[in-house]
Amino acid sequence: MADLSVSFTGIELKNPVMLASGVWDLPYTELIDFEKLGGIVYKSISLSSREGNPPPRLTEIPCGVINSIGLANKGIENFNKEILPQLKDLGTEVFVSIFGESIEEFAELTSRITDVSGIEVNISCPNVKEGGLLFGADPDIAYNVTKAVCSNTDLPVIVKLTPEAVDIVKVALSVKEAGASAITASNTFQGLVIDIETHKPIFRRITGGVSGPAIRPLSLYKAYQITRAVDIPVIGSGGITDWMDALEYFFVGVSAIEVGSAIFNNPLAPIEIIDNINRYMDENEYKNILEMKGEVNEERC
């Protein structure tokens, strides 16, 4: 039987399949056997509570969804008191996604996080204090956020990049330089849907984040570019709905993957992916994930 465990920069997972931030919450523990998962990333937490965007917050697109949830959450104090103790009982590695509206907020928030397996830094949110540009759009700002987080914690720091960066490889190099343990590549793409009855965007905030199988080739290419340029581990994320999608990511060299909106289509997708990767590795005589990853043949062109 293949060994599915992965271990990188202070992170140890029983298998390389994680539940991505944003799409799930505690009610899913009734549906999915969390003990089987490699890890879970709890939805983005801010310093104080945020009620999120006015509805509508989500709609379907061909092969995916677009959302404008607005990072609704009850703040760090509620997370530490009410949510974390429940997550710790689930028998899997717990990561928490964090976001702030300023670099100072990222720093303070980080200092209040303990007792998790790592922090995933969401830099796909706007830098409200400095004009609203996404933190992750600019390599220098991404560096500063990562630095602020890393200097306030001893926990592994994973930075989740936005594909909206002008040059995502430059941002990846910056966050590595600033001390990131790993990179998640990548977050949702920005998109627009117009309501043809009102002639207006369906979301009050105009754009939303596109996810699902529709973006898989786009996200996979970002992961491919980053694994080639940066020598810290990469967690692949974007449009993974089954084991074959997951393999594509491993073959471009990621160390683990995150499954997100796939659970809307099939809540058992993460578990099925783990079982099928296991089967695939046995059938193809891979002993461990390391043997299987990064097989893309560069000589094709």
Partner: protein, 244 residues
Amino acid sequence: MTTFRILPVIENRRLGPYTLLRIKDVGIHKYAGCGQFVMVGLSFLRDPFLLRPLSFLSVDNDSFSLLIKIKGRGTEMLSMVKPGEYLKVLGPLGRTILPGEKGILIAGGIGIAPLFYQSQWMRGGVLLYGAKDKRELVLVKEMEDRGLVVKTITEEKGGTVCDLVMENIALLKGQRVFICGPVAMIKSLREIIRDYTRETFVYLERRMGCGIGGCKSCAIKTGYGYKFVCQDGPVFPLEEVEIG
């Protein structure tokens, strides 16, 4: 207990302008409660990507039924599923409600579906039911057989549900009322019945991502901040929620 399973369709028939799907599920009656719904989708397909929230129409010992109105591609594809084909089913979802032995049900169009399900638990009461035309008025006899007094109205002859409610406003006095129908109907009814009923509840509908309280997509503004139709509803006290 909420589960995700692949279940076979055992019947697909027309009911007025709608499609009635019956799905085999032995033992579902033990855990499906009044007010609840399921998320359903075509098995093995990733497009349409989202499952569709549909309230129970009825629940028996070995099956449950759903009533589908074609609104877009997802519901159109669901309406074409043949007996022997399979659906992804997540549920039961949402909070159960106390139906009460009697009471007033107000349905507009396809809004009859969850109210028909609710009437499984009731012993009598009144149904005020409006639709576009006669063909859209379904399940009237079945509701009468359950002991409800049914009063109907159609837009082609007579007027809207609101007209029907105004004609029968005395019946609402001091009663528990349950409403399901289009947003415009709910908004007008709110004004009409405000001073009459003891309590009024409304069945709401929203596009949902997960259906189980994970994604925070189906937000609805209430007097207590945002609530979620999938987890806190789909039935809410009318005075608590902002409609439209």
